[in-house]
């Protein structure tokens, strides 16, 4: 595209790319209000301005009457149309249509007039184009606005800065034959880009909104949704190859002392190699958040949960209750084995009431109902019958349940090894694990414990959760994904449910977990600080928040003011020009302070001589003139020392010293002067 220097004629034309957003908004208006042919007419007039340089004179006899005629026609047509309108069309719609059409014609008028203010008309036209687009955003047709808005804003964002940086480019003269098609292609490309942008928004609307929601919730894209937490809502016994959990932080426990086993979900039915809750046939009492609140006194442990990929609350078996904090709600999830789940903004915080150890207040340690007990004793048919024989050999000769539990644990410890790599084989993996004394992970050990104890008539269930072992300070325990663990719980009459962990010591998370790196720890510390600030801010009331913001702004203002005053008083005027002579520097600081104290502040860009000279010229009173003359004399003497007296710097330092003493005396004399009278500022503001 040829770039020519703009002539004075062309400068009176509105830059041609302004047509693009105007046409765009008018298209939106037409699609919204297809009853109105005026929009097409206005758009055509706008497009024609690209083809020729001919224009109407800017103001006066033609443009103003033209405006009046157009407005009259639009209103008349609107009235005629209103008489035919349907019941569904409201007055607001009609008004918006009219406003849009009037703006469209106003755009056309401005494009077609030649005026010295043509360049500022570009901004006005863009504004009116925006108004037209807004008028198109009627309730009846929001899709049009959605489709056109990105293109519109894109055009404005491209055109306006380009125009400001390269006015020659934009002011290229219209009318040349090969230029018009190029301009149309440019507009078409811009429209295409805009439609493409809109399409992207529409296609990925859900993903974009989810991303935004995650960011607002604090999880953002940095939170690891794909982190392996190790907790499965449907644990199965299968092939595993060195599956380790992540080091991502799952929980932080403060002031927790007790069993490291933090239970999350329990399962009582083994079928098809998996532990299933199978809730459909059960009659589970609904337990709401209120009934999970702490019911007993006793020590409390505060828990912070950082991820919500499973939404499960973890607690020790002997906990007395849970106490959700802030906006967290805790419920028992009836749909999936009854785990206790939470619902609240991350990180979730809740307290665990550790209770006093009495069974009566162990909310979660309730005796199984008859159906539950039946399930907790059930050995499914898929278990190899030889497992029952093994169980019988292990513990049948022991009478008490504790003895049987110990026997089973010892047996597994002796005959099976811990390993993260397991090949279950084709048969039932649990049976194979027991019969073939295989090596496997904690899920196998827990499952085997459950089945063997059931064979010995001890009601037992399978539990998954976390093993809390990592101490971070004297009263804090950090639980990570790699601390996921599985174990069994057995019911002992008069004792209640007890934790039975048959996983060998070297297979428990305290032995297998790898310590997090320093970078992970630092990241977690930073996250904690940010979370604390966020929580603190969210707990502030509106008035408190307003006070805080106001206080911060006041502090900033005071700081800036003090800094500027301090800098003004202490620096040897302008860091750009350092006064090497310390005596002279002090005198300059004193004089600046003197000027300020007498309401004669001198701006940085003004010399004292000019400043005082103006003040002197503006005063008529003899006393004021004497006052200012003294100041001027000081300035003149100061200038000699500051900018002159070159020779005295070296050879005749005595003369310089004498001059300095004299200058100091003058300064003392000035400082002894009484305060400056009013009227100085007014005098200084009078034009010189």
């Amino acid at each position: 595209m040829p770039v020519t220097k703009a002539t004075s004629d062309e400068l009176q034309l509105v830059p041609w790319p302004t047509v693009a957003p105007a046409i765009l908004s008018e298209m939106a208006l037409y699609l919204t209000d297809s009853r109105n042919p005026f929009v097409i007419l206005a758009g055509a007039i706008c497009l024609l301005s690209l083809v020729t340089k001919s224009r109407l004179p800017g103001q006066g006899a033609i443009v103003l009457p033209l405006r009046l005629v157009i407005f009259g026609i639009v209103f008349a047509a609107s009235a005629a149309w209103r008489s035919q309108m349907t019941e569904n069309t409201g007055n607001l719609v009609i008004a918006l249509d009219n406003v849009g059409v009037l703006c469209a014609f106003e755009i056309a008028i401005r494009l077609w007039r030649r005026t010295e203010t043509a360049r500022s008309d570009m901004s006005v036209i863009l504004f009116f184009s925006g108004v037209v687009l807004l008028c198109a955003c009627q309730d009846e047709a929001p899709d049009h606005a959605l489709r056109f808005s990105p293109a519109f804003f894109l055009l404005v964002l491209v055109i306006y800065p380009l125009y400001r940086k390269r006015p020659d480019f934009i002011l290229d003269s219209p009318g040349a034959r090969f230029v018009v098609p190029i301009k149309i292609i440019f507009i078409a490309l811009a429209l295409g880009l805009g439609f493409g942008t809109a399409k992207c928004f529409l296609t990925y609307q859900q993903q974009i909104s989810m991303l935004g929601e995650n960011i607002l919730n604090g999880t953002g894209t940095l939170a690891s949704h794909t982190e392996v937490s190790g907790i499965s809502k449907s644990p199965s016994l299968g092939f595993s190859f060195n599956m380790r959990g992540s080091t991502a932080r799952m929980l932080t426990l403060k002031d927790y002392v007790g069993d490291p086993h933090l239970r999350g979900m329990s399962f009582d039915t083994y079928a098809n190699r998996s532990w299933l809750p199978l809730m459909e046939q059960r009659n589970v009492r609904a337990v709401t958040g209120q009934r999970l609140n702490a019911l007993a006194s006793g020590p409390r442990c505060s828990v912070t949960r950082y991820t919500d990929d499973d939404g499960v609350v973890f607690y020790p078996l002997d906990a007395a209750g849970l106490d959700p904090l802030n906006s967290v709600t805790i419920n028992r999830d009836l749909s999936n084995g009854g785990p206790i789940t939470f619902n609240g903004p991350l990180p979730v915080q809740y307290d665990i009431a550790l209770g006093t150890g009495s069974k009566s207040v162990q909310f979660f340690n309730q005796p199984p109902s008859a159906p539950e007990k039946e399930r907790d004793l059930d050995v499914p048919d898929e278990i190899d019958p030889r497992v029952k024989l093994i169980a019988k050999n292990i513990g049948d000769h022991v009478n008490d349940p504790f003895g049987r539990i110990n026997a089973v644990v010892n047996y597994l410890d002796k005959n099976n090894k811990y390993s993260l790599t397991t090949n279950p084989g084709r048969a039932d993996p649990l049976s194979s694990f027991i019969l073939q004394q295989k090596s496997a992970d904690c899920e196998y050990f827990a499952s085997a414990t459950v089945i063997l104890l059931r064979c010995l008539h001890v009601p037992t269930r399978f539990v998954i959760g976390y093993y809390a072992h990592e101490h971070d300070g004297p009263d804090t325990i950090v639980v990570r994904g790699q601390d996921a663990h599985a174990w069994a719980e057995s019911w002992i009459p008069e004792k209640g449910w007890i934790t039975v962990d048959a996983t060998p010591g070297d297979g428990r998370p305290d032995e297998t977990a790898s310590p997090p790196s320093i970078s992970v720890r630092w990241t977690e510390a930073l996250q904690d600080v940010l979370a604390a600030v966020r929580n603190w801010l969210s707990n502030l009331s509106v008035s408190q928040l307003s006070s805080l913001v106001g206080g911060i702004l006041v502090c900033i203002g005071v700081f800036v003011y003090v800094r500027s005053r301090f800098a003004r008083l202490t620096r040897s005027y302008s860091s750009l020009f350092v006064i090497s002579d310390p005596e002279l520097s002090k005198l300059s600081v004193r004089f600046i302070a003197w000027l300020d104290s007498h309401q004669l502040p001198c701006s940085e860009a003004q010399t004292w001589q000019d400043h005082l000279g103006r003040a002197l010229n503006a005063r008529t009173s003899q006393s004021e003139q004497n006052f200012l003359s003294k100041a001027l004399n000081f300035v003149k003497a100061y200038s000699v020392l500051r900018f002159g007296l070159g020779a005295y710097r070296d050879a005749q330092s005595g003369r310089r010293a004498a001059a300095l003493v004299e200058l100091r005396n003058q300064m003392d004399d000035l400082e002894a002067q009484p305060a400056w009278t009013s009227g100085t500022e007014e005098a200084l503001q009078r034009p010189s």
């Binding site: 220097k5 703009a6 400068l11 006015p167 005027y573 302008s574 860009a605 010399t607 900018f643 002159g644």
Partner: protein, 312 residues
């Protein structure tokens, strides 16, 4: 410069003020440029005393004065002179042009062709002319007052910025105020003030003054301030061509000249502020957008002065 010379410089200025009434500031600028060894561009409407000023200056110096009215058909040789062939002797004789003078008034310099303009401007900067391979020095002192009419552009060849840069200052006399003009009318009742002018300085005095001015102390801080002013204009987005080192050198000299005329042997920041617009404004070329937007070069200079802190 010793006090005697300073007094005589002021006497010269007084001479000029007696002829050109009510324009003390403009005359001071002309004096500053003259003593700094520069030349002056007078932008004015006709009849404001440009020729009278130049003639008065020449009379006061007891020097030679020439006036050239620039027209579109003027040739460079009409300015510099040329060699004439004398057939009787068979030799070429050089006839110097009007440029060989102490004070030259180049009237309406923008009416002649760029070629002729260049011939003059080259001579102004180099103080010599080369004709047919022979170099000929111009008299010393050599001072050019060029004029152009700021309101008439028809049929003109505006001086390009590179050429404007050769002028130390751009000055405007302008119309006198009413009271002054009445004084002018009455003062010429019995003769023109120019007729009674007496020389107050010799060419040698001027040369001595110009050399002495270079001894005026220029504190580095003031030089930094001056360069920051100039640098501000160079980095301004509205400026396409900033002030050249020639401009900063001329600013340096004129500041020294002003300090001397005010009786100082050292330069102050006030000198920079007083001379910034007349010495620097005509050296700036604005961006077309700024130019068409109504920005003036003097505005750029003034904004620079508002933006750069002054050393104290």
């Amino acid at each position: 410069m010793n006090d005697t010379l300073t007094e005589r410089a002021l006497e010269l200025e007084k001479n000029l003020n007696s002829v050109i009434r009510g324009k003390a500031e403009s005359i001071r600028l002309v004096m500053i440029a003259f003593l700094a060894g520069g030349h002056v561009l007078l932008e004015d409407v006709p009849g404001t005393g440009k020729t009278t000023l130049a003639k008065s200056l020449a009379r006061s110096l007891d020097g030679t004065f020439r006036r050239v009215q620039f027209t579109p058909d003027l040739l460079p040789a009409d300015i510099t002179g040329s060699n004439y062939y004398r057939p009787q002797e068979g030799i070429f004789e050089f006839r110097p042009g009007p440029i060989f003078t102490n004070i030259l008034l180049a009237d309406e310099i923008n009416r002649t062709s760029p070629r002729t303009q260049s011939a003059l401007l080259e001579a102004m900067s180099e103080r010599q002319v080369t004709i047919d391979g022979n170099r000929r020095d111009l008299p010393d002192p050599f001072f050019v007052i060029a004029t152009q009419n700021s309101s008439d552009f028809q049929g003109t060849y505006p001086l390009p910025e590179a050429q404007l840069d050769r002028f130390a200052a751009r000055v405007s006399l302008g119309y006198p105020d009413i009271e002054t003009e009445i004084d002018i009318l009455y003062s010429q009742n019995e003769g023109h003030p120019f007729d009674v002018l007496k020389p107050v300085l010799s060419a040698a005095d001027v040369i001595e003054m110009q050399a002495d001015i270079r001894t005026v102390r220029f504190e580095r801080t003031v030089a930094e301030y001056m360069m920051r002013l100039i640098g501000f204009t160079r980095s301004d987005s509205r400026v396409r061509l900033g002030i050249s080192p020639r401009g900063s050198l001329m600013m340096y000299r004129t500041m020294q000249s002003r300090a001397r005329l005010e009786g100082r042997d050292f330069v102050l920041p006030e000198d920079a502020r007083a001379l910034a617009v007349p010495v620097l404004a005509h050296r700036i070329m604005l961006d077309p957008k700024a130019r068409y937007g109504g920005v003036q070069t003097s505005q750029v200079i003034e904004e620079a002065m508002e933006g750069v802190p002054v050393p104290r």
